[in-house]
């Protein structure tokens, strides 16, 4: 009897192994299932659908149909036509978007680097400065832009000061040139804080020994900043530079909040947002997005690789 049981046990064991998953495998599947499904749907699915959409045309009854034959690239041809003929301010949209690259990478970032160095070197009230610099990152953008436009506008204290100096503050957000300047100044004013926080954190990782040897060798602050601090925080600088490049595509609310009446200041992001908001004819904004992704992605990834080659990777 015992033998039989033993025999039946020995024959059953391999079957059970094959039939049931290991407990840890079930655990892994359960823990990852939602995130993987969400990613497949909302990243892979959405981007794949975006590609499909850009090769479709919108019908009046609200449906989409495939573009075929000579019309296959119609949505993309339309982008070139719009840029060439400046339909819907496509040229100014390009210029406004690219301007954010210059503002973020060549104005905000250098100023932030400079400020960060002094905060890192424990200038008087450096802790207080850090806290205040962080504030714009936690306040809703609509509040920041409203406060900025009211303060600079004709009713605000800065506006009144400008009026006294002979500058019409009431018109600052009404013309293309002045609106653009006001938006760029806002982006620098509100954007420095976040960069400073990241850069000071990067600088705080620099080993004390290196700074002490600089001090003993009598290295002036300027050269310490250029030759020691920047190379040792280069990974953070690169990250912020890439963020700045991505702002060409990501900035979309600032121009609309600050200068709603001047649509020539709107960016690629603003145009895609408004073109999509109605929920109709989504093929055109999808094609516009895909077009700029194809151009932007290799440039940004290439720049990242290039910047990483400037200074060797240092582990400390």
């Amino acid at each position: 009897m015992t033998r039989i049981v033993e025999q039946s046990n020995t024959t059953r064991r391999p079957r059970r192994k094959r039939r049931f998953l290991k407990a840890s495998t079930i655990f892994v599947i359960v823990m990852l299932a939602y995130s993987v499904l969400h990613f497949l749907l909302m990243w892979v699915g959405v981007n794949f659908n975006s590609i499909l959409l850009s090769f479709k045309s919108y019908n009046r009854n609200g449906t989409y149909s495939w573009l075929t034959g000579a019309r296959f690239f119609e949505n993309f041809e339309l982008i070139f036509t719009n840029i060439g003929k400046n339909v819907d301010n496509y040229q100014s949209m390009l210029f406004s978007s690219l301007a954010f690259f210059v503002v973020s990478c060549f104005v905000t970032l250098p100023i932030s680097l400079f400020f960060s160095y002094f905060i890192f070197k424990k200038i008087l009230a450096s802790g207080f400065f850090k806290v205040i610099f962080f504030l714009p990152s936690i306040i809703p953008l609509i509040i920041l832009t409203t406060i900025y436009s009211i303060t600079v506008g004709s009713n605000g204290p800065v506006g009144q000061l400008l009026n006294a100096m002979g500058i019409e503050s009431a018109n600052l957000f009404l013309t293309h040139t002045s609106s653009s300047w006001m938006i760029w100044i806002f982006c620098v004013w509100a954007g420095i804080g976040y960069d400073v926080i990241l850069l000071t954190a990067g600088m705080s990782r620099i080993p004390r020994d290196i700074l002490e040897s600089c001090k003993m060798d009598g290295v002036p602050s300027f050269w310490e900043f250029i030759r020691i601090v920047i190379p040792l925080t280069w990974s953070t600088v690169t990250t912020l530079f890439i963020f700045g490049m991505m702002s060409v595509f990501t900035v979309f609310l600032q121009p609309w909040y600050l200068a709603p009446k001047v649509n020539t200041t709107w960016t690629i992001g603003t145009n895609i947002y408004f073109a999509s908001k109605g929920g109709r004819a989504l093929n055109a904004p999808a094609a516009l997005g895909l077009f700029y992704s194809i151009i932007g992605a290799p440039i940004i990834v290439g720049t990242r690789a290039l910047l990483n080659k400037f200074f060797g990777e240092v582990s400390y």
Binding site: K122, I123, I138, P140, T151, Q160, G296, I300
Partner: protein, 315 residues
């Protein structure tokens, strides 16, 4: 109450000690001792930074001051202290609603924000924690692929996937115009949170888990009873940062929940209307809107800043 008083005193004692230590470091640490031209440069930069900080604080101070003035006084006395001090603007700001604000008052917007940002934060932090733990600590087929794809999706910029996402939400998922739809968009487990938690779990000692396994605990018990309490610090920090991010998010609620505006969306409607009615009431609205975020920031400023820094460095 006594416990709150104790915590408050403890917090301030710690703050005072930190300040004293910072002062001592600045004055005695050889690294930060300065003289001559360097000292002059630092004084100059202190002035520049102070001006910059004033440019941040002054508009808020001006708005706070004017929020307590009657509308009639604001036009005549924009820069002075309120002569006729009133809280009426705050009362009006709390109750104001009309067609332009979708008939929603700031309190209703606040409630919607708490719901969406709160639940969104809970769900996304939970899914990120689950995914990060498993990818960091378990060896399984496809683990490296998942990690590589997540990094790729974070590095490569995709422009304008909004039209496609809208179509998906409306025609495929049928979640357009629902609170669940908004939360669903936020709920993904693979993002910056995943990377932060992944690096935490990667460095986490496996000893406790091994001990628990010897005692017969299964993977779920280990995760909920041992891992989550051990990861409490980073989870709280990420939750706060995520909460602030979702609290301020404009795009998702504006697109998918137009009938029930959150604070970030509704404030725009409120401001558009209030600019034509009463500036002081608009200033009171601003104060009401930023107060919860400022309180949260004041309570967790160190945690928020440290973890934002870590997040940035990982990028």
């Amino acid at each position: 109450m006594a416990s709150f008083g104790y915590t408050f005193r403890k917090h301030w004692r710690k703050k005072r000690d930190d300040l004293r230590q910072a002062k001592y470091t600045r004055e005695h640490d050889v690294l930060f001792k300065r003289k001559g031209a360097t000292k002059a440069l630092f004084i100059f930069m202190f002035v520049i930074l102070t001006i910059f900080v004033i440019s941040f604080l002054f508009p808020f101070a001006w708005i706070l001051m004017n929020a307590f003035k009657p509308t009639s006084e604001f036009g005549l006395n924009m820069m002075g202290w309120p002569k006729d001090f009133t809280f009426q603007n705050f009362v009006d700001a709390f109750t104001f609603k009309d067609a332009t604000t979708k008939n929603k008052s700031i309190l209703e917007m606040l409630a919607m924000t708490v719901l969406i940002a709160g639940v969104g934060t809970l769900v996304t932090v939970f899914t990120s924690t689950c995914a990060a733990y498993v990818v960091a600590k378990y060896k399984f087929f496809g683990r490296n692929v998942i990690f590589a794809v997540v990094i790729f999706s974070l590095i490569v910029p995709i422009v304008g996937s909004l039209p496609s996402q809208m179509q998906m939400m409306k025609n495929v998922l049928h979640l357009d115009g629902t609170v669940i739809g908004c939360i669903f968009i936020y709920s993904g487990g693979f993002g910056a949170n995943f990377l932060l938690l992944y690096s935490f779990f990667k460095n986490l000692s496996w000893t406790y888990v091994e001990a628990a396994k010897v005692d017969g605990a299964n993977d779920f018990v280990i995760f909920f009873r041992i891992i989550i309490p051990m990861a409490k610090g980073p989870i709280i920090a990420i939750s706060i940062i995520q909460l602030i991010g979702l609290w301020n998010d404009y795009q998702t609620p504006a697109i998918y929940l137009p009938k029930y505006p959150t604070l970030a969306v509704g404030l725009q409607f409120l401001f558009e209307k209030m600019q034509t009615l009463s500036y002081p009431m608009m200033f009171a609205t601003i104060i009401i809107a930023i107060l919860p975020i400022l309180i949260l920031f004041a309570a967790f400023s160190k945690t928020i800043m440290e973890n934002t820094s870590v997040g940035g460095l990982k990028g």
